[in-house]
């Protein structure tokens, strides 16, 4: 059964701290890994990763995939209170009839002023 695990499940930091969120997966026919930020209800897309070792970067957020270790990390530097959210990792698996997405439970990040 396809599975995505995230750690930690919850994290509390202060503004200015740097955080690293982890995602590991066991998926048949892996195609891509995606990170989402969920603040209120709707997850919003952050990054899509398909190749190992290539860092994706957007402002203070960056992410990298390690296909050998079946994992990915999401880094946030100089955290701000607006970074408080649930960060979801999803893995795309390819099947004969198309694709499927398996989401992890998310990491709840709280950034204190």
């Amino acid at each position: 059964e396809d599975k995505v695990v995230q750690s930690p499940l919850s994290l509390v930091v202060h503004e200015g701290d740097t955080v690293t969120l982890n995602c590991s997966y066991e998926v048949t026919n892996f195609r891509s890994l995606l990170w989402y930020k969920q603040e209120k209800k709707a997850p919003t897309f952050l990054f899509m990763l398909t190749s190992s070792g290539i860092e994706k970067k957007s402002g203070r957020l960056s992410s990298i995939l390690d296909k050998k270790e079946l994992s990915s990390i999401l880094n946030i530097t100089a955290t701000q209170t607006g970074d408080s959210a649930i960060y979801l990792c999803a893995v795309e698996a390819v099947w004969g009839y198309g694709q499927n997405f398996v989401f992890g439970p998310g990491t709840r990040l709280s950034v204190l002023p």
Binding site: V4, R31, S32, L34, Y36, K40, K41, A42, P43, T44, F45, M48, L88, A90, E92, W95, Y97, G98, Q99, N100, F101, F103, G104, P105, G106
Partner: protein, 113 residues
Amino acid sequence: EAGVVQSPRYKIIEKKQPVAFWCNPISGHNTLYWYRQNLGQGPELLIRYENEEAVDDSQLPKDRFSAERLKGVDSTLKIQPAELGDSAVYLCASSNPHRPEQYFGPGTRLTVT
């Protein structure tokens, strides 16, 4: 560009009652997804449409859940009869052809009493 629209945003019903959710995807997005998200968990796929065809409904509890996407645009998800365990947030998402990143609607929070 308008985002994914869902209604209602909140719904409270008694068990054994029917309920329906509506989703309007982003214009031009052929792929539409319905997810269920329980508290503290990541979204779980219920059904995926490519245009008007349901290409993956393996996770949809077919004894009480049904979905349709007439004309390949709007979609409705129905539960009849609802059970206490159906209380969750129901998310709709859409994506471009050949692009895995999904755009989510605000979701419908269902409470079954």
